[in-house]
Amino acid sequence: MSEFVEKAVSVPTETAAGRRPIGLLLVAIPVFLVIWLVIWPAINAISRTIWRTDADGHSSFDLSSYAFFFSDRYSLDNLAVTLWTTLVCAVLLLVICLPIALYLRFSHGRLPAYVQALAILPMFVPSIILAFAFIRVLGPNGMVDILLNAVGLPKIRTPYLTPWGPVIGLVWDNIPLTVLILLSGLGSVANQSIEAARDVGANTIRVFWHIILPRISNSILVALSFSVLGIFSSFTLPYLLGPASPEMLGPFMQRTLRDVQDPIGAMTQAVVAFGFCILFGLFYVRSVARNRGK
């Protein structure tokens, strides 16, 4: 942040004084949009779900929509499957992406370049195409079934329309950013410190545990926060690949709002989602702001 501010201060003062109102004017519309369509909806969703207007037009403090959510079997099942999916995805992402990032950090040449290109490719595959590809590969009579059948093995139990469907899709979708964020964190691990540890006889695992892990723990948290925020309320993949019941919060909110036409119910679900993600959200925003300010 300091460099950023310094740059700002270094603006020649004679123009700065003259342009002061113009600067505010130029940023007014985007700032207005953020306030109107990000901050206000969040406040509005919270206030309208806790400060309800009854049939007579009296508004009063009323938590009944939350009481309903947390006593309704179906809502709770949906929340549980959402938490389960998020947790499983986060663990899988870490288990898959950390080795890839470590490999990329400590190798040079054409093979690592190819591995990196592949790891980043899903970023350029829209999730809608991913969903279609998933069904053609892992769905009933998909490519995996064809290949298994060709070598005389039984068909797989397809993950399509089970809770594992969204998990596989979401992990696939989130690999690129997780690898990039971890790789960027690994950039701060100096080769010398690893060589020094090796010189005194530390093996690979000890180097990883004592030298590398402490330096990238922040990046791991950032990567996890980013994927948790994305996965917790994901819509497209759970809607297309997941089971109809229980469903994740994303499709659940969409159905409550558009099909059941219950905006208060949908907003309650949204606020519950905000509540579960608030820590990850704040941590993520803080990290981005700090990095950007550097």
Binding site: F124, I129, M267
Partner: protein, 274 residues
């Protein structure tokens, strides 16, 4: 981990393992989709299609709903990107070059959207649009997609403007160039490529934006990704979806080629907080 410096001369087994696994898992499904797009007959359990051909390209492209969706998507992406450029680029210039009260806090306010789970926020916005009768309208979708482009379209150009060599601008001004001339001849050529990248990314991002279009736009506004959802849900002819996937992937491919320079360096990941 086995490839830490000392083992560079050996065969890179872990690299080969990663390359093979990722090729299977990442490229594999895409190849299957591409194969389906050029298939006329492929019955289970044949490993390769019985008959290749372009028959379904003609059929898919001949469908009026596909054309309508494609035109609508292009129109939406163009309108959103132009509006976004129109309001964001001057703001980016102001953030990069001018001093005004509350500048830093306003700059970081664009992060607010990232503090919430995205679809939850969309639902909260939709609840407001419901009262404003913006649900199911073109401009409702424009607004929701416009918000999605703000951060990209401000933060990337701000970095671009800050990277411009100030001494060149001052030199030009010293020899009598007008501020507009300085901007046109010095600032823009240097910041231009990065700004163009931001514009392109926001166009492609808007083209593929599915969740806002589905939540706010349904049933009136059917963009390409929304059409694709209904093709997947209604189990239409498999090839329709495959042909659409291949078609849909073209803009993404252009963005991929273009972004190769931007991504890969740590700069991009740092933008995401890495």
């Amino acid at each position: 981990m086995t490839s830490l410096t000392s083992t560079r001369a050996r065969i890179d087994w872990s690299g080969i393992a990663f390359a093979v696994l990722l090729t299977l898992v990442i490229i594999g499904p895409l190849v299957v989709v591409a194969t389906w797009a050029f298939t006329e007959v492929w019955r289970y359990p044949n490993i390769i299609p019985q008959k290749f051909g372009f028959r379904f390209w003609g059929q898919t492209l001949g469908r009026p709903d596909v054309w309508n969706a494609l035109m609508l998507s292009l129109k939406l992406s163009t309108v959103v990107t132009l509006l976004s450029a129109l309001i964001c680029l001057p703001a980016a210039y102001a953030f990069a070059r001018m001093k005004f009260p509350g500048r830093d806090i306003l700059f970081f306010s664009f992060l607010a959207g990232h503090a919430f789970p995205k679809f939850g926020l969309l639902v909260a916005i939709a609840a407001i649009f419901l009262q404003l009768n913006l649900i199911g309208t073109f401009w409702g979708v424009v607004l929701i997609q416009l918000v999605g482009t703000l951060m990209f379209m401000i933060w990337i150009p701000v970095a671009a403007f800050q990277a411009v060599d100030r001494r060149m601008e001052e030199a030009a001004r010293d020899v009598g160039a007008s501020p507009l001339r300085v901007f046109w001849s010095i600032t823009l050529p240097q910041a231009g490529p990065t700004i163009f990248a931001a514009v392109l990314l926001s166009f492609v991002g808007t083209f593929y934006e599915t969740e806002g279009a589905w939540l706010i736009g349904a049933p009136g506004i059917r963009t390409m990704p929304v059409l694709m959802i209904s093709y997947i849900n209604n189990q239409m002819v498999i090839q329709y979806g495959a042909v659409l996937s291949v078609l849909l992937w073209v803009p993404s491919f252009i963005a991929l080629m273009f972004a190769r320079r931007v991504i890969g360096g740590g700069a991009f990941a740092r933008g995401f907080g890495g």
